[in-house]
Each structure stands twice: as structure tokens, then as C-alpha cells.
Subunit: 132 residues, 2 copies
């Protein structure tokens, strides 16, 4: 999907800054994990110009709300996002403080046997912590 469509569907006008964010986020072979600060640095390195943090936060949050980015539940002082929005799970390397994707085929089916009245399951996410 073209960047501009992702932006438009997310209710955002395709500005110069947002398109640069898109190029770093979506113009890659592989998906990746990032914090807001890492993303801001990456844009500065790859594009050679600086986008204000407020714009990065706004754009990432809009993409998250519209399903083009995923927030990863993790105990860290920074929030981690994922450009891989398919259902998948994660290794978390405690020493390196790095996330690694687990393909869905890497994890057997997960059966949740308990039901909560009036609630339905929105997502099931597994976090596998790794140590040496």
C-alpha cells in the first residue's frame, strides 16, 4: 500500500514530514521494532533533516490507532512499536534488551479455556524472555 493511502486512511494529510516518517517505517524489506527516539534518530540519519518529536509521536499514534503499527506490551521506560502488524509473538533478550519476532509457526496454538462474561478476546500475545 502506498504511504499516502495509509496517511489518508488514518485521517492525516500527506505532508513532507509524514511522508519521510513513512519512508523510514514502511519502505523496508524487513519489519522492525522501534522506540520513538530510535525512530526520530533514524529519520535524522537517513533523511538528513530533523522532524520534531511532537510530529513523530502524533504520526506514530495515528498509525497505531489505524492498525499500521502495533504497540508491544513490555516493561520498559520506553514504549516499543512494531511495523509487523500481523499476529505474532516475541522473544525479549533481557541482556541485549532487544525484541525478536517469533513467527506464528514458531509457537504452537494457544487455547484460552476461560471465558469472561460479556468480554471477547481481542488479542493473545506471548512474550518469551531470554537469558544467557
Amino acid at each position: 500500500m502506498k504511504y499516502i493511502d495509509k496517511l489518508r486512511i488514518s485521517g492525516l494529510r500527506p505532508t513532507k514530514q509524514r511522508i519521510q516518517i513513512c519512508e523510514v517505517l514502511f519502505n523496508t524489506e524487513k519489519t522492525f521494532h522501534f522506540t520513538i527516539n530510535e525512530l526520530e534518530q533514524k529519520i535524522r540519519n537517513k533523511k538528513g533533516n530533523k522532524i520534531s518529536l511532537a510530529t513523530v509521536y502524533n504520526t506514530v499514534h495515528a498509525f497505531e490507532k489505524n492498525g499500521y503499527l502495533k504497540r508491544i506490551p513490555l516493561n520498559s521506560n520506553q514504549t516499543y512499536f512494531d511495523t509487523n502488524v500481523t499476529n505474532h509473538h516475541h522473544f525479549y533478550d533481557l541482556k541485549e534488551e532487544k525484541l525478536i519476532d517469533l513467527e506464528n509457526s514458531d509457537v504452537g496454538p494457544i487455547s484460552i479455556k476461560r471465558k469472561i462474561n460479556g468480554k471477547k478476546i481481542k488479542s493473545v500475545e506471548v512474550l518469551v524472555k531470554l537469558e544467557d
Copy 2:
């Protein structure tokens, strides 16, 4: 196990403040989830006196390090802890913003088929998000 032993094993002297924290954390039929601020309020309500936040943080972190409390990976602006330190998983009710324990028997066995060289699995935690 007596509070004082938990404290001593954690390398902490059994002071008046720490014993009050223990009474609120461990002197209950059921286990529970909490944030530091909720814990501090609970102590003030149940014990009628105030313990400084620094002491609550220090004590909780010492108990976490020694396996008497568990930190729950969750995307929140506050850190959640659990007095249930057995292997178990969680529902997270997105609307109520509340954690619910899933007993181990509520979740089928989870097989992780991928290995990372030189790393071993420390924990496997499932987070099931609930919506209405």
C-alpha cells in the same frame, strides 16, 4: 513464610515500615495486582500511617529481585506488580484497565519451537486483551 524471613532473605532488615508493607502484600487470602501508588494508598488506609514512596519503591524492588513479587509486562504509564509469583498468565480488560489472573490450567501448553543460540528461556507470559 513469615514476613521477616522474606525480608531477611531479600537482604532487608525487618523495620516497622517494611513489615507494614508485608502485611498489606502477603497477609491476604487472595493474591492481587497493584501499582506502587495503589500500594501506598492501601497502606495508608489499612494502617493509618504514611510510608514514604521511596521506601515503598525500594521494598517492592527488593522483593521483585528476590522472587517474592512479579512485574507484569503491560503497556501502561505505571508499572504493575503481582503478588502471585507462580507461572501464570493474564487477561487484561482494556475498558476497565484491570488485570485478571488466568490459572495455568486455563491456558493450554505453549510450545516454543524456535531456539536462539546461546540463550535459554527464562519465562513465557501470555497477555490476553479483552474488549466488550
